[in-house]
């Protein structure tokens, strides 16, 4: 503890220099902007600025890039809440209840709670990062393919509770998403699946075009031509602040979202978006009024937003403690350090205390800066809703197109976005909830590959899933949850979900 405090002091002294404060601020600003722009996400922002960091000293470089990374998680919720367009892929879940709140005139509180939740999650995660990095990282390394598969299986079962409506319809959305996720090169054998000669489909259809298309474009398609525009209640100044009730309701989701997001984030290879889905599903499951979800429940914003901020910082744990990248963004951060001749490895924290503790301190500062930045901006952003829709939607359309294109300089992505937009439009008319499909697209490659890798490791023996302790635990958990869900069927009592659907219908 002593040593940690001393080091923290060292870190703060590194951060509170004019240059590093400046870079932290710039990083947060660019991160917020990149998060707000649909399609363009933190990866694009970091890649863009990577060359400029070559000339800086390593501490400043990593402070700048990390600022972009978690700053984007703050900005991503803005367009999700105001326009139902995910600012970046992990913000998809915020679109559902956030936008519903905006339509009720509660956009201000939604934005505010998103910012507050992100701040608390971000700061608590830094504490976790600070104290627990090495042991957590070692634990995370123990996650191999079998553990991964069982974990995701568990997650999928939890997600069965994710949205209301017919179980069959939700399941078919997940399966449809999983099928779309199968497009591309099969990682295990090199076969091209369903790509029809278009090389760009070799990597599969990306999550960004799918998320922006299914949510953003379909929203535009559905609303633009309506003669009776949905009346958006213009918020008054008083309405910009969350009510006491809303704040109280958010405490639990923020706490749970933080813990869950952080734990999911440290696992190498997990996508942040998974933490938001799980948080949403969890909040819905334990809520006393699950029928509010989907119609503007503040828990549906507080939980996922905290989760994705916590996950983004959790992802830094293995990278900093062991030099192991958990995903593409930490990989770029690693590269940024390598370019300066610093090789993150197990000795990184010991050998480069200036950089490590400087980064930790900058994250405390950065999160605070972002909170102070985003809260006043709430009133400005909310005024976007005042712009007449007929001017707004072509602008949004343009940003969606250029944002999706910018991710990979690929027009194929724009095409996928358009097709997904059409699909989302038709599905909404047919009364399907599109969020599970996004999850399917994200999970499909990971689940399948983990399963086949696990079997490759055991040479075909299925027992590997129960032989290893962590995966056995998850497997048992998944089975337990499935049984719990099936219990009412066996007991012939009405499932809480059926009661719920009936309650919704009678409303």
């Amino acid at each position: 503890m002593e040593g940690n405090l001393q080091n923290l002091f060292l870190g703060f002294s590194t951060v509170f220099t004019a240059t590093n404060l400046f870079y932290s601020l710039i990083g947060c600003l660019i991160g917020t902007m990149v998060g707000v722009l649909p399609g363009v996400g933190p990866l694009a922002g970091i890649s863009m600025l990577l060359p400029t960091t070559f000339g800086l000293n390593p501490a400043s470089a990593i402070i700048l890039l990390a600022g972009i990374y978690y700053g984007a998680m703050y900005g991503g919720s803005t367009t999700s809440i105001l326009m139902r367009i995910p600012g970046e892929a992990a913000s998809v879940m915020t679109c559902i209840d956030g936008y519903a709140m905006a339509q009720k005139g509660r956009a201000g509180p939604a934005l505010a709670i998103a910012a507050i939740g992100s701040y608390i999650a971000g700061t608590l995660s830094v504490v976790g990062l600070m104290f627990l990095a090495p042991p957590l990282a070692r634990f995370a390394l123990g996650f191999g393919p079998p553990e991964y598969f069982c974990l995701l299986l568990c997650g999928m079962v939890v997600l069965g509770y994710m949205t209301g409506g017919s179980v069959v319809k939700n399941l078919s959305m997940i399966v449809l998403g999983l099928l779309f996720g199968m497009i591309g090169i099969d990682q295990m054998t090199g076969y091209f699946r369903f790509s029809y000669g278009i090389v760009a489909l070799g990597d599969g259809i990306g999550i960004v075009p799918v998320a922006v298309g299914l949510f953003g474009i379909s929203e535009i398609l559905a609303t633009a031509g309506q003669t009776k525009r949905p009346v958006v209640i213009k918020p008054r100044f008083r309405d910009l602040f969350p009510s006491r009730e809303e704040l109280r309701d958010s405490v639990g989701p923020i706490g749970r979202g933080t813990v869950m997001g952080f734990l999911i984030g440290i696992i190498p290879g997990s996508a942040h978006i998974i933490s938001t889905f799980v948080s949403y599903a969890l909040e819905r499951r334990i809520s006393k009024h699950p029928e509010r979800f989907g119609k503007g429940a503040i828990e549906g914003v507080a939980g996922p937003e905290s989760a994705n901020n916590a996950a983004s910082e959790g992802a830094l744990v293995p990278m900093l403690a062991l030099g192991v990248p958990t995903g593409p963004i930490p990989a770029v951060l690693l590269a940024a350090l390598m370019v300066h001749g610093i090789n993150p490895g197990p000795l990184f924290i010991k050998e480069q205390p200036v950089i490590f503790w400087g980064l930790i301190a900058s994250m405390y500062v950065g999160n605070l800066v972002l909170l102070l930045l985003n809260l006043p901006l709430v009133s400005i952003f909310v005024n976007f809703l005042r712009v007449p829709y007929k001017v707004l939607y072509p602008t949004i359309l343009m940003f969606c197109v250029v944002g999706v294109y910018a991710v990979n300089s690929s027009l194929v992505d724009v095409g996928i976005m358009s097709i997904m937009g059409l699909l989302g439009y038709v599905l909404r008319k047919m009364d399907f909830e599109t969020a599970p499909m996004v999850l399917g697209v994200v999970l499909a490659p990971i689940i399948e590959v983990s399963f086949r890798q696990a079997l490759a490791m055991s040479n075909g023996e299925y027992s590997i899933f129960v032989q290893r302790p962590i995966s056995a635990v998850f497997l048992v958990g998944a089975l337990a949850m499935i049984l719990l869900a099936l219990k009412p069927l066996i007991m012939k009592k009405k499932d809480w979900r059926e009661r719920l659907t009936e309650a919704e219908k009678s409303n």
């Binding site: 990149v34 363009v40 694009a44 922002g45 863009m48 069959v168 319809k169 078919s172 399966v175 449809l176 999983l178 099928l179 199968m182 099969d186 295990m188 054998t189 076969y191 699946r193 369903f194 474009i217 535009i220 398609l221 609303t223 633009a224 031509g225 309506q226 003669t227 007929k390 001017v391 939607y393 072509p394 602008t395 359309l397 343009m398 940003f399 197109v401 250029v402 294109y405 910018a406 300089s409 027009l411 194929v412 724009v414 095409g415 358009s418 937009g421 439009y425 599905l427 008319k429 047919m430 009364d431 399907f432 399948e448 399963f451 086949r452 079997l455 040479n459 075909g460 023996e461 299925y462």
Partner: protein, 146 residues
């Protein structure tokens, strides 16, 4: 003909299509699943779910009652997206955006001509500057070099 029956049928057809398409992919064994294994599993699952939808779909809303008032506008907007997909690299980002925005503001939304010009030019050129110059993401310049 309810919406559930329609979507159920669609899923069944899609499942069959996937099964047909995956015949080139080896299945492997249960101990060593090949690339065709999971798609087959998912396709079967989709067909089952589609079947359930069709069977129980009787009490859903009738297809006829689903209103599509915004369909024409939606198709026009979709057309713009497809136009961007096909043409942006050939004629350049700025020209494409000017055309699309001009179409949306001017023809679909019938704004005044000076509003159309102001919005179109400022958005197209502004976003180009934001991405290409400021964020250094190269946007296509098209055959005219513009």
């Amino acid at each position: 003909m309810t919406i559930d029956r329609v979507s159920g049928t669609f899923f069944i057809l899609l499942g069959l299509f996937v099964i047909w398409e995956r015949r080139v992919l080896p299945l492997g064994t249960t101990g060593n699943p090949g690339p065709g294994y999971f798609p087959l599993l998912l396709a079967i699952l989709l067909i089952l779910l589609g079947g359930l939808l069709v069977i129980h779909g009787g009490h859903a809303i009738a297809l006829r009652s689903v209103k599509w008032p915004e369909a024409r506008t939606a198709m026009a907007i979709l057309g713009c997206c497809i136009f961007a997909t096909l043409g942006m690299e050939t004629i350049g980002y700025r020209v494409t955006m000017v055309l699309i925005l001009g179409f949306l503001f001017g023809i679909l939304e019938r704004l005044k001509i000076w509003q159309v010009l102001a919005l179109t030019l400022s958005l197209a050129l502004g976003s180009f500057w934001l991405f290409d110059t400021f964020l250094k993401v190269p946007l296509p310049r098209g055959g005219f070099g513009f």
